[in-house]
Amino acid sequence: MFKRKYWLVLALLFVMFIISACSEEGTETNTENEGEKETATATPAGPQEIRVRVNDDPDFLDPHRATASLSFQQILNMFEGLFLPQPDGSLTEGLAESYEVSEDGLTYTFKIRQGVKFHNGDPLTTDDVVYTFERLMGLNSGEKLSKNFDNVASIDAPDDTTFVMTLKEPNSNFLYSLTALQSAILPKSNDGKHNENPIGTGPFAFAKYSPGTNLELKKNEEYWQEGLPYLDKVTFVYQSDDQAAVMNLLAGEVDLTGVPGHRVAEVEGSFNISHQNNNSSLIITFNEEKEPFNNLKVRQAINMAISKQDIIDSIFSGYATPQGSNMSPAMGDYYLDGLQDVYSFDVEKAKKLLAEAGYPDGFKTKITVSSHNDMYPNIAQIAVENLKQIGIDVEIETVEWGIWLERVYFGRDYEMTTIDLTGRPSAYEILNDYISTNDNENFFRFKNDEYDQVMADVLKETDREKQIEYYQRAQEILTEQATAVYIADYEILWGSKKNITGLKSYPFWFHDMKEVKFN
């Protein structure tokens, strides 16, 4: 009698474990067993497979829908536009072999490069180029995916190798809308599947995406730039914690990762450290429609009261370049030097300005920061300590990233905040956040007639020297108006194994694996 019940108990326990096991087995049968194919080609010694640590998943694999910098950091290896951005921020011909602009600046004629193939083997044709822009502009059944082409009056492909775009108004910045960041050329035959099975013309093809885990890319054997790429496989591994990522590097589980400044010392003996200007602008900014931030003297006082060097030394261990306006030295000629010293740290002068503004005893306010990166709460703490010295009592409110976006960035319901504005290859796109009519991005509520005029005029100007003058004047205006506290462009420090070469630094987030190899 007892024995029968014992067996029943055992049977039930066994069933419980079987249920667990069944889930595993079910999944295992779906796993692809990709055998390692041995290539007989003469490749450099060592494995040609790299594991790159990235903070998070892309938002989309479809380049027309992706918006996060972090997405392009990875997927730009798969896609190309008519033009290719370069590390110095300039553009070179990509899928457009050459181009001409009409006298009136309205008509752009591109010669499409021949012999290029998509990852699925299809040749690149003008049909694909037309399809790409129709998709972005929402010209067929779909939704409009981008407003970058609102100024395009028409597109046309008069013959097999020619693509023509006609603008409504001249725009000297237009070519910057034609890189893979804005208009990656996609194959028409892949319509409807661009996110689940992305196909492009880039040096690497999509292999597999494991959400939350990694993105695997494989070599494009038929890449149009002969001999490239060197790597057979690229894996972007997701790890949101910087400390854990450094441990992964030390343990040999990733080959390339960002390294926080304070851990450079323990990494640099065994690994290469390369420095990249982020080309971002780290700012502490204000809602300029709210009192007292609508007062220029108050903003100037805050600029002088906050020590950029304290922030640079404490948070970035010195690895940052101070700024005085919304432009990084990474932008080369467009950058106007000297603005970083206009509001030197000076507590006494700051107090005086505050008194002149009508706040001799200071005031009380709040800074709202996102918790998704330790950097922001840390910066807020230093700023708060600095501002105490001139009588400004600031409460720190730390919120989740999603709430920061909803309330601060889109909702404009804030007094002070801190964020870094993403780097872009185009000087115009870096500075256009502050145009008063750019409601989408002008979360500072900055309004300045001269600024708006300068930014409008620069689009009509085709001479580069004059363009540079306009962009530099725009930077000056932002400094004169103390629009924000422009702290720095902090460096991204990349730790990589010593036998890796070919890494490039772009003025925006892009892990270009095209020329990377192990020696």
């Binding site: 889930s23 999944t27 779906n30 989309f60 829908r65 981008s146 441990m247 999603g402």
Partner: protein, 313 residues
């Protein structure tokens, strides 16, 4: 049979209530999933396009009813964050979580049970005092700290153990074990501490009862007294705590997965919450709920097998 039926009804009611509560809570939470996903670089065209595609522009009751309908066909909807079916994401993650859970449970079972029995037989002796103190420590250690200690002292010093990531079983059994042993230990050690104490206490309680004195006076061997009588009668509370541990572990060990960067269900839950990815949150919560309630259901059935008197209630 009535007992089983009553438990089944409770099962269904619990699952239904949890789904309604989760849906309701999610509507109250601030934070827009579309804006969170697209970030500062998005413009209104992209925001509206994505919102429409995800069906977030439709009335709440419509969204909920559609989800419930999908549930009955195994369709949990699409993840906002990952643009993939929720069921696919869960199926990718379950092997990881269940592997860690199973390994941890095996460790707990084979350590806590024998240890509890061993110590109960030696009440107030030195080994009892030492082990009870050690388990006190085991209960007090937070799992994230324990995880880090294991990474630093074992993971970094023995090449066998991987400190991050996951290797599928289909790829390499040794590889899978190398990524799972440390996380499983991190889960198991505190649970051993809890389980051990329950086993010890439960057996000690039984030892105080009259029937034990009676069967000893009949001259039965100590082994039979311990394993055939005392242990059997101790099973109700032991089974209770074992069931709780199983439910807790199988439902996803969020902290441990985070520390070891294991791509399991728990880690997925954190990601989905921070992105306000409602379909994914609801899918995971549903999985956890069904799992926990099912395990409790099984435990209840086992109760009636072990102790027939319960069947009569």
């Amino acid at each position: 049979m009535l007992y089983i039926f009553r438990r089944l009804v409770l099962f269904i009611v619990t699952v239904a209530l949890v789904s309604i509560i989760t849906f309701g809570v999610f509507q109250i939470l601030p934070g827009d999933p579309v804006k969170t996903m697209l970030g500062t670089e998005a413009d209104e065209v992209q925001i509206e396009s994505l919102r429409k595609e995800l069906g977030l522009d439709r009335p709440l009751h419509e969204q909920y009813m559609e989800w419930v309908q999908g549930l009955f066909t195994g369709d949990l909807g699409n993840s906002i964050r990952f643009s993939m079916p929720v069921s696919d994401l869960l199926m990718d993650r379950l092997p990881v979580t269940l592997s860690v859970a199973s390994l941890a449970l095996v460790i707990v079972l084979f350590v806590a049970l024998p240890l509890g029995i061993f110590v109960a037989k030696r009440q107030n002796k030195l080994s009892d005092v030492l082990l009870s103190s050690a388990t006190q420590l085991g209960m007090a250690i937070p799992s994230f700290w324990l995880g880090m200690i294991l990474i630093i002292y074992i993971g970094m010093n023995f090449d066998f153990f991987k400190i991050n990531g996951y290797v599928p079983w289909s790829e390499s059994i040794a590889g899978a074990l190398s990524t799972l042993v440390l996380p499983a230990l991190t889960i198991a050690i505190p649970q051993i501490a809890v389980k051990f104490r329950y086993v010890r206490t439960s057996i000690l309680e039984q030892m105080q009862l009259d029937y034990v004195r009676t069967i000893r006076s009949k001259g039965l061997p100590e082994k039979i007294v311990m394993y055939k009588h005392i242990l059997k009668n101790s099973m109700i509370p032991i089974l209770t705590i074992f069931g709780l541990i199983t439910a807790e572990v199988v439902a996803g060990t969020i902290i441990v997965e985070q520390v070891f960067a294991l791509p399991g269900v728990g880690q997925l839950l954190i990601t989905s919450i921070s992105y306000r990815d409602f379909p994914l949150v609801q899918g995971i919560v549903m999985y956890i709920t069904v799992t926990v309630v099912f395990i409790n259901f099984v435990v209840d059935i086992l109760y009636s097998v072990i102790d027939p008197r319960i069947r009569l209630r």
